[in-house]
Each structure stands twice: as structure tokens, then as C-alpha cells.
Amino acid sequence: MYLSLSWRNLWRNKKRTIIAATSVFLAVLVAVVMRSMQNGSYAYMIRSSVKFYTGYLQVQGKGYWENRSLDRSIVIDEKQQKEILQIPHITSIVPRLEAFSLVSFEKVTKVAQITGIDPEAENNMTDLKKRLVQGNYLTDMPGGVLIAQGLANMLKIGIGDSVVLYGQGYHGVIAAARLPVAGIVKFPIAKMNNAMVFLTLTNAQNTFSAYGRITSLAIMLDNIKNQAHVYNSLSSMLGGQYTLMTWQEMMPDLVQGIELDNASGLIMLIILYIVIAFGIFGTVMMMTTERAKEFGVLVSVGMQKTRLIWVTTLETAFLAFLGAISGAVFSLPVITYFHYHPIPITGNAAPVFELLGVKPIFYFSTDPWLLINQAIVVLLIALATALYPIFFIKQLQPVQAMRS
């Protein structure tokens, strides 16, 4: 009967209730869509960035990140690699041997990063083959090199020409090799496009006398949410022998960019919450003050104030539920649609995304927690406004209330 009383009280003024519930509904809808776009885009950006090169996690030699020397390279044999792949949520591992060396063709010499890769594993992770603009991929020509387009232009080198690598190998051994250009790859980031050379891992290990060694093992996961779990499993498996880096440590700029954008999104959200809080508060206040006399009568005839508070809180809860649940339900098809049909980013912003190697789109997340969280937050805000009738009823004097 208390439920019935609250529900019916809510509909005493249909228009007002509909307006208040609609404002909650719109708040939840806007909040969910906004957060879905933000979180979805972050997840997409992170996924694209880690896929581009670093992976979610990387196993490296101790101190390698600070001082990139082949002397800090490590050995992770096939057996260990298989064990790593057994850890749940790891989808692939990509071994690399990275070194810096002089790259020469005829009279031009440049400095480049030479990366020894497992062509198939690398392609599975980074889609390197898709960046091929000329020639063949390393699977078709394992003895050759892939050279970044910018660097190739600077060296004025083409397919079939041979490039000379000259640098320092493992433990100071001189590294020198003359290798044919198998293909030319194009990177969206100029820094990479002007300084990258790829060859097979074995070829690189032989060239730099780092037999069986790698400088990093990039690790891909099925879901970013499992990163902490995998990190712990991997840490205990590897012991203190190696360093385990996360993508956050390897790409602090990306983390900072996301945090900054997220903060501005949260500020918008807080403003939205405040507007909604005042909207609901206005309704609750009117619903309370206009019934002061009725409350006075109810207390006079024997209704305990706690029961009256319960009835009025239920009214606010109904109002909030009505808006929050319908907002969450209605936002589901909206974000699902945009999840499958992301909004393309055009204009000046698009090249910025392309520069980062990320497709310029607003991607939407369909994480159910997004709906639940927003609905709960708005619900809590609405329930917080129920404090007003609580204070009002606590201080209610029946005689004065009945005179009002």
C-alpha cells in the first residue's frame, strides 16, 4: 500500500512527473552516449596504438628501455615462448631484435633502426604487409630487407638494389651486411617512415652476432581488461630476470592524452549531472512543499515520520528509476548502432589521427557497465535530492503544517 501510495502520488501532477523523468532520461542517454564514445574511442586508440608496434606488454632485458643496447638483449627460447603463449588471454607474441646502424646506398648514408622480425608474427600483429607500397614482403623474400619509404627516398634506393648496413653488434662486434631491398613500406609517422629497416629475425641475429637473442617480446592480449591479470602471471613466470613493460609505460604521451581528454569529458558530465540534480531537486521540492498540509494530517492521524519519509523517498526513487532505466534502455540501440557504424572524423582532426596510425573514427563502446554506471550515478543523484523531503518531514510540526 505504501508502494501504491508513492506511485499514485507521483502521478498527481502527470506533466511535472513526465518532465522530470524525461530530464533524467535525457541525462542518462546523453551521459551513456558521451561516455560510450569516449571510452570506445580510447579503447580503439589504445588497441590501434599497441597493435601498431608496442603490444600491450613487452618483455625486455633489464635496463633496455633506458639504454637501447644490444648488450641488454635477452634469450627467450622457443620453450619459454610456448609457455608464455599458454598464459590465458595472451593471443600472440612477437619477438624483435632492434639495433641502430648506418644504412648506405651508393654515396648516401643515413642512420636507421634495424628491426629483426618474425615476418608472419609481425604481420599478424602490426599488419606490416599492408604497409607495403612496392616489392615483396619478407615471407616471399626472407633474405631481403623492407625499407621505409622516406628512408628509401633519401637513399634513392629501389627494389632490387642492395643496401649496406654497418654498425655495432652484440658485445661490440662489428656488424656489416649487404642486403637486397625486397620491399618498400610506408608509415604514417614521419619519424618511422624516415628511419626504419626490417629484416628477418634470423638475418638480424646473424648480422649483429646476437645469435638466438632478442631485444623485446611484444605481447598481444584478447582484452585490455585482462592486462593486470596477464602482467601478474607473466611476472611470476619470468621472475626478476627480465623487465616487463606495459603499454602505459611505453607510451606515456598516449596515456596523458587520454587522461586529459577524459578529464574534459568528466567535467562535461559533472555539469550535466549538476543540471539534472537541480531539475530533479526542483520537482522534489515542489512535490514536498505543496503537500505540507497533507503531511501534517498524516502525522496527526498517527503516521510515523519515518514511514512518511519512506513514502516520499520511494516517490523520488520511482521518478529516478523511471528516467534512469528508460534512459539506459533507450541508449543501448543508439550506442550499438554507432558501435557498428562509427562516426568518421573529418576536417583538420582527421590527419592528426592518421599521423598516430589510427583510423579517424569515433568508436563507441557497448560495455554494459557503461549503462549500469551512468544509470546508477543519475539514480544516486536523484536519491540525494530525496534528502530535502527527509529534512522537511523531520522538522514538520503537524499543527503548523495543517495551517499552511
Binding site: 501510495l5 502521478w11 498527481r12 497533507e294 496527526s300 498517527g302 503516521m303 510515523q304 514511514r307
Partner: protein, 229 residues
């Protein structure tokens, strides 16, 4: 043993301009099944006296005893419960819950008392039949006339099986015919249920029907006519 006993009861309102003594040293005993009208001109303290008897307001002096119990000793929550179980209220403006039907309005008091649904249903219908509204149990207050609403209010007041009913100007908003019919009903209930009624009124129709008339003037009892001995 008096059902209600007022001893040196006073109430002073401290307004900003000057203190107003609404009730002055009232001594009164009301026995069971009395049909008492408290009368007097506007501002004579009728409603204040009724509020003090009902525990809705606190006296500034003296005491109110109901069945020899000083209600001033009750805490706020206890006082609300005391009203729920011992006093029935009928207000001038009916004050029914607008979103409830007539039956639900009567039932609600029993719900507050923790009475089971089956008993509530049965009793509510019985009371509404007793006040002549058996046909209108599912009507909301807005669908009822003033007189009918006041009848529902009377049924609601009786629903808690109170020791007495306090009625503040119950006929003030009713036309003569309806007022007479309500008074008939209350007299009947007074007889059939041995219910004690205390009215505040300045309606001559009520005064004519009352068994005892207590006249207030400037907050003090001027006349007390009739009553059980």
C-alpha cells in the same frame, strides 16, 4: 474515571509583537460516550484546545490526561503512536488522501496499526457501510461531495477503534442538509459504538445536538452545560 482530563491547561503563543494566551487554565473532564461541543467565537481557543487534547500541540502550562495518562510524558514517536491507537480525527477540510479511494483512506489507518489485509478490507467496507457510503467505496475524494468526504473522514477516524474522536469544525464546509445528516451519523455512532465525540464548533446545529456544551471565551471556559455526572 474521566476519559479525558485537562488540569490547569494553558497555551501561550510567543508572537513577535506580544504573547498571546490562547488557552487559560482550563480544567475539564470528559467521560466516555460524551457528545461534547466546545463552542465559542473565532479566536476563542477552540482549535488550540482540541490540538492540545489530541497531542498535536504542547501546552505551556498544565496537563492533558487521557485515561489517566499524562500525554506530555510521551516522546514524539510515542505520541504519534498514541494518537494512532487512541484518537480519531475529523478535520474541517476532510483532509483525505486524494490518491486513495474511500476504502483505501479508511484502510490506511489500519495499515499503520499493522492490521492484516483481510481484516482491513472487511473493516473498511463495514465502516463505509455504517456511514452510508457502501456504494462509493472505490471513489476517490475528488469524486465525492463535501458531505460524502466528511463521512469517509468519520469512517477513517473510527477505523483505528479510538477511545474518542476529535472533530474540528466538522460541519463548517457543509450545507444544512448534509450537516444534519452527518450529525445524525455521529450521534448514531455515539450510541451504537459508545464513541466519545469532542467537537469544536460555532455551528448552532451542532450545538443544538450536543449533549454537553463547553463555551470558551478568550481561552477560558465561560460555561459548561450538560454532560454526564
Amino acid at each position: 474515571m474521566p476519559l479525558i482530563e485537562l488540569k490547569n491547561l494553558s497555551k501561550t503563543y510567543n508572537t513577535t509583537a506580544f504573547p498571546v494566551q490562547a488557552v487559560k487554565n482550563v480544567n475539564l473532564q470528559i467521560k466516555k460516550q460524551e457528545f461534547t461541543a466546545i463552542v465559542g467565537p473565532s479566536g476563542s481557543g477552540k482549535t488550540t484546545l482540541l490540538n492540545l487534547i489530541g497531542g498535536l500541540d504542547k501546552p505551556t502550562g498544565g496537563s492533558v490526561f487521557v485515561e489517566e495518562r499524562d500525554i506530555a510524558t510521551l516522546k514524539a514517536n510515542e505520541l504519534i503512536d498514541f494518537r494512532l491507537h487512541h484518537i480519531g480525527f475529523v478535520f474541517q477540510a476532510y483532509n483525505l488522501i486524494p490518491v486513495f479511494t474511500a476504502k483505501e483512506n479508511v484502510e490506511f489507518i489500519m495499515l499503520l496499526q499493522g492490521i492484516s489485509k483481510t481484516i482491513r478490507d472487511k473493516k473498511a467496507v463495514e465502516l463505509l457501510n455504517a456511514v452510508g457510503l457502501g456504494e462509493r467505496i472505490d471513489s476517490r475524494p475528488s469524486q465525492l461531495s463535501g458531505g460524502q468526504q466528511q463521512r469517509v473522514a468519520v469512517a477513517r477516524a473510527l477505523a483505528s477503534r479510538p477511545n474518542f474522536v476529535l472533530a474540528d469544525e466538522p460541519t463548517a464546509n457543509l450545507d444544512s442538509h448534509t450537516a444534519e445528516s452527518l450529525l445524525d451519523l455521529m450521534e448514531q455512532l455515539n450510541k451504537d459504538y459508545e464513541m466519545t465525540f469532542v467537537f469544536s464548533t460555532h455551528d448552532p446545529r451542532v450545538i443544538k445536538r450536543a449533549h454537553r456544551v463547553v463555551t470558551l471565551e478568550d481561552g477560558a471556559i465561560k460555561f459548561d452545560v450538560g454532560g454526564k455526572n
